[in-house]
Amino acid sequence: MTAETAPAPSDPDLSMGLRLQARQRHERSLEFLRVGAVWLVLILALTLALTQLRIEPGYLIRRSEVVLKIVGGLWTTILVSLVSVSIAAGLALVGALGRLSANPIAQGISGFYVSVIRGTPLLIQIYIIYLGLPQIGLQLQAAGFRQLGQLFILDAITSGVLALSLNYGAYMTEIFRAGLQSIPHGQWEAAEAIGMTRWQILRRIILPQAIRIIIPDVGNQFIAMQKDSALVSVMGVWEITYLANRSARLDSKYMELFLVAAGLYWLLTIVSTFFQSRLEKRMATAYER
């Protein structure tokens, strides 16, 4: 879109402004093309180098059904991440309220949760939930608590979602806490002055404003989680990493298939980043009408 397509304005200031704006846009798209070209060259160079090292891109075409199977794992990865990030957000909200509460029990529990989870590796948490908990479940069942014991024996996907939710919930607790604390104190006072209770103020005044502030960080957490979800492959969940690993072993095509997996994660990140920035833009204008 350039100044020529708009009706020629009579105001000389305006037409100069439009011309400058068009030129700026033009320069920006040129720069974008140049950077894109560099990326393309990088990818081509890498591909070339790999083919020189007897890595066969042709294999991916010959055995396209293997590739498609890995692509199918995308849905599991997306599903696990989406469910986990939602549960994590719920946990984080409760955790943040606990940390900010005056109640020592709430404060103690949420502080303990954040400290323990952030102080231990995600992989260990996955093992504890998937392999450790059933041990307790079996003990309970042996002691005659059949139903209760069954609760501790989780399938792979449930374990993965639980581990990711608990883990990210702890990190996001701190994000939510910072978001809640960033709302000016005057908002609390104005709401108190019209007689609102603490809980009403949180729900109707503070949270809606805090969520806007938190959204970009939650988006980043979601993107990070898509990649951390690769860890649930250790339990044999059929997501991208597990499928790539399994197929690669069969044909000894590790580099080829792990590159496919890497590409899928990358693509997922790019798409998510795109939606995230659109959401952020929409949120930024939400107060204006």
């Binding site: 000016p184 005057g186 908002q187 006072e189 104005a190 709401a191 108190e192 002055a193 019209i194 007689g195 609102m196 209770t197 009403q200 109707r204 005044i205 809606p208 404003q209 806007r212 939400a286 107060y287 204006e288 009408r289």
Partner: protein, 256 residues
């Protein structure tokens, strides 16, 4: 601590109010009675405790000791007492407050700001709250801005919406803490005009302000505070032209 109902003669009755911030004795034995329809203006230098006093009246700040009675709701605190939540809620329902920084809710339109208390605190249905909200927005001259978010309002308009928000709860007394101090000079007039109108209609008001002209015109009584105590009070004519206390005189000489 106790809560009981007293006679209807005075709207605000404060007796022996004290406030400490840590070791800082900010309010020192303040007693004050405000009659219905009275406009009381508080003046005094920065740090004299004017804001703290207003904020103690609706418990945004918890008084350390003393008795506060607003519209028959009496709350007596001994040092170390914690007031019951219900008593605080009752006090807040009969006071409306306007802040220096407006403190509008940015995620709500002007109308939503005004009806928020009606809906969440007074539990009115939205259909019942909206006409009330519109009435108060019209009163401050901003009905045409009802669907606008605060970010789109000027400072003076924001403060008028904030006044409408407080009025909509129909409190027995309005507290103003330097309502025009955050405004550009050309926007002060419109806010003072709304306050004058309220005064004419008989709204009971306690106003902290540096607008001496407004105090002269509108106040029934002017109170000079210093170091957490009431030094002198009287009709504006008397206070502004022949104050009895040398401290009042000195303060007025400095600012006029």
């Amino acid at each position: 601590m106790s809560a009981e109902t007293t006679g209807p003669e005075a709207i605000v009755q404060v007796a022996h109010l004290h406030k400490w911030f840590g070791l800082l004795h900010v309010l020192r034995d303040i007693s004050l009675t405000v009659q219905p329809r009275e406009v009381v203006v508080l003046i005094g230098r920065s740090g004299s405790g004017k804001s703290t006093f207003l904020r103690c009246l609706n418990f945004l700040e918890q008084p350390s000791a003393g008795t506060i009675t607003v519209a028959g709701n009496r709350l007596h605190l001994e040092p170390g007492d914690r007031p019951a939540r219900a008593h605080v809620a009752a006090l807040r329902l009969c006071t409306g407050m306007v802040f220096q920084e407006f403190n509008l809710f940015p995620h709500m339109t002007a109308l939503e700001n005004v009806i928020e208390g009606l809906v969440t605190v007074k539990k009115l249905a939205k259909t019942a709250a909206v006409p009330i909200g519109e009435r108060y927005l019209a009163k401050v001259g901003l009905l045409d801005k009802k669907d606008v978010h605060p970010i789109r309002l000027s400072g003076g308009q924001k403060q008028r919406v904030a006044i409408a928000r407080a009025l909509a709860m129909e409190p027995q007394v309005m507290l103003f803490d330097e309502p025009t101090s955050a405004l550009d000079p050309e926007l002060i007039g419109e806010v003072l005009e709304v306050m004058k109108q309220l005064a004419r209609e008989g709204t009971t008001m306690l106003v902290v302000t540096h607008e001496m002209q407004f105090a002269r015109e509108v106040a029934d009584r002017v109170i000079y505070m210093e170091a957490g105590a009431i030094v002198e009070q009287g009709e504006p004519d008397v206070i502004f032209t022949r104050p009895a206390d040398p401290r009042t005189r000195q303060f007025l000489e400095r600012i006029i």
